[in-house]
Amino acid sequence: MSDTTAPDLPNPLPRPPGELEELERVWRRPRGIRRLTEVNNSQIGLYYIGTAVMFFLFAGVLALLMRAQLALPENALVDHDLYNQLFTMHGTVMMFLFAVPAVEAMGVLLLPSMVAARDLPFPRLSAYAFWAYFIGGTIFLVSLFLDVAPRAGWFMYPPLSSAEYTPDVSSDFWLLGIGFIEISAIAGAIEIIVGVLRTRAPGMSLDKMPVFAWVMLVFAGMIVFAFPAMIAGTALLELERAFDWPFFIAERGGDPLLWQHLFWFFGHPEVYIIFLPAAGFLSMIVPTLARRPLIGYRAIVLAVIGTGFLSFGLWVHHMFTTGLPAISMSFFSAASMAVAIPSGIQIFAWIATIAAGRMQLTTPALFVLGFLFIFTIGGLSGVMVAMVPFDWQAHDTYFIVAHLHYVLIGGMVFPLFAAIYYWVPMISRRRLSERIGKVVAVLLFLGVNLAFFPMHVSGLMGMPRRVYTYPDGLGWEVTNLLSTIGAFVIAAGVALFLFDLARNLRLSTTRNAGNVWDAGTLEWLPTGTYQTRSIPIVTSRDPLWDQPNLAADVEAGRYYLPGTATGRRETIVTSSVDARPQYVLTLPGPGWTPFFSAAFTAAAFMLLTVKAVIPAILCGAIAIGGIIAWMWRADIGPRAPVDIGGGLRLPVNITGRNAHATAGTVVLILCAGTLFGCLLFAYFFLWTVNADWPPAGAGAPSPSWAAIAAVLLLAASLAWRAGRGVLTSHDQPRPRLMFRLLVLGAAAAATAAVVADGVSLWQAGLRPADSAYGAILYAITAYQAFLTGALIIMAGIVFARSLAGRIGGPWRLSFEVTALFGHYVVVQGLVALAVTRLFPGVAS
């Protein structure tokens, strides 16, 4: 590298002494017990992926127990009750504690370096999400050893999972434990969406974004729209179990099918939520291994977006045997076939890239080839079960077990192994062994096919799912024995993989093995704890291939922000389409609040499962206290503009539409809105299954109360607006009092509105336990009350910040996000009133 300064690079050499040391000091990782306080995404990503692998091993052991039991007919290794817990836990842990967190972990681990950000915009949120998942998930596992593990299947269908047929706490463990881990997935999704859109390196416009970033954007968007359905479903079922609100009890107007709709509205996109990031791994790995740029970048972006959306139109294909109208099933059958188009586009793009390049048969390449074979078989059997008449035959048989394992193992586990072998040199001093890796790949490939291909046959011969044993003489003996042998071959492969990890994985941020594959994307730039020394200007999709000397110039500090401009952790925020620098965002450093808030959130939910209500409330209060402490320090306000090089002076921490927190709040509102939409769906669904709606004898809530509530909501919205006006006006002393009154007034009006709504239901004589009609009305009001409660806390923080002089003039981000959320609460309240008060009237 020469030390003459190229005119087009933003910062000259030599760099001032002490600049790098200062950068290292700011990003230094805490040691010892204070490791728990680290919030940096690359560190949290490592914890995350390690934890996910741990859960994978645990759930794998459960699978081995089941296969051991099914090896021979009439085997007595495991009794039926334990077997029910085993398959429920296996499915639940694999889906919720391994698959989604593992791909989310890869996202937070890889994205910052792939887009050359110092970090994603909400590091504490990621830390909170991780710790909540780690602690909650671990407690969830323990339930198995106490014989209180869930046992109603991973999709928890009522009435089997309801209070009547599962009176013990096992279903509660599932509903509260898993429901709460979904919250952690949503937190991660918010981080990823805002991170991908706003922290990309300058010049990395949408058309130059790595496919993995596209994929994670769509993935996170899918979480935002799918997971709330699951949260709504689990909340309703838990309300039914705890308080006898009959959402799913047919005698009182409920319907168990409502659960299936909510579950699968989440559950089908879930499959693609797992698959898309894995496909994203492949789109990064295949070009590197084939030594050429990806063929069909634009087609893949189209396919990823298409898959993300279309996968929401498939949920009923899990319900073909529930007696829906034929035409409704046909829509979903057609959509199930249509979604094969974008999946096919991706597969052909990878094959074309492999064919056009020179693929080296390395370990990741073997996993990629294994993926292509296994996933394609799973896809084909998927198109088979998309046909309604075939599905009627195959439903609830081992054919489905075979199909879903081909799709999930092919579509997610193989790509994940490819990804681990591929990216370990980025995080470890040594790469993993190519020799051992190839044996692992071969063992897994043989094992998976041996375990799951015979299951197609078992299923076609009529063997049902979820049976703990089967009688001799039905012809199922051979295929089951083969499946068991295959399962243990998989286990041998995984054990060998662990051996490889133990021998070769030596974590290191600064002295990693580096770009051993000679890849073209930014995650292979030389890194420290601060990610890259300087933040590059990107002009290509494969910058390390196309921009000569990029790695050396980045490391020498010749690009943007070669040190710390504000003396804090920070990153550059760029515009979402063209990735032009907009401002410098200061980022939080290590702190205890995410860890403690997460620990107490997990404790609160887990104590609720065993009905320890008072300790649960205490833990919840401590968790909220922790989050308040965290929020108190979150908005440090704008600072003087700083120079990042190349004559570019950027503001620090802006407020308003372009602020990262505004974007995060918008995503949160989308989540809240989807959850609300699911409750409205439940309302209309229950209406269609009940001939009388409202049921005969149910009182009608008085319209005058509803009118009062609506007026209060509108008043709240006006108060938020006025508050903003006062805050941005220039006279100071008197408006400060006015501002505080408006904030309190807005929160009070929203609260009064939801109270008025609740009172009107009660006065009309409606009781939630009497009928599904009452239950859903109270549920909608309770959700409005929940959001209002959150709003009260937010408004309280704004009020307190105003008293402490931590708000005013341009320093107002915490107010703006509160007001934005406040407006949403108003809109939701008005829609709820309109639907629940006007619709029955219109219908009758």
């Binding site: 949408l206 977006i305 570019l648």
Partner: protein, 111 residues
């Protein structure tokens, strides 16, 4: 490289990118919801008519999205965005046509 100020256009970029599939989703949910209600109330004759009508409207809107996407100019990223938005709308049209076929093939409310 220059810094850019706040822009309203940027906020609209993602909704535009996804517009075609948003139209698909709205049509899908509307048709699904209508069918459910219609079959409960015995209006099975209306179902195919409504499905086809909804599809025609959705395809027309997607045609507009395609035209707007192909017309989009400006930066390289802007043209890319337009092209992908048009392709997304085209994919949506395929899905919509596919999902309209049952109206001609299946007796609406038979179980």
């Amino acid at each position: 490289m220059t810094a850019v100020p706040a822009s309203r256009r940027a906020a609209a970029a993602l909704p535009f990118l996804f517009a075609g599939l948003i139209v698909w989703a709205v049509r899908f949910l509307a048709v699904y919801g209508f069918t459910a209600i219609a079959c409960v109330n015995g209006w099975s004759g209306a179902v195919p008519v409504v499905i086809v009508a909804a599809s025609v409207v959705a395809i027309a809107v997607n045609g507009v999205v395609i035209a707007a996407g192909l017309r989009r100019n400006g930066s390289e990223a802007g043209r890319f965005l337009g092209l992908i938005a048009a392709a997304v709308a085209a994919l949506s049209i395929i899905a919509i046509v596919f999902e309209t076929l049952p109206a001609f093939l299946v007796d609406a409310c038979a179980a």
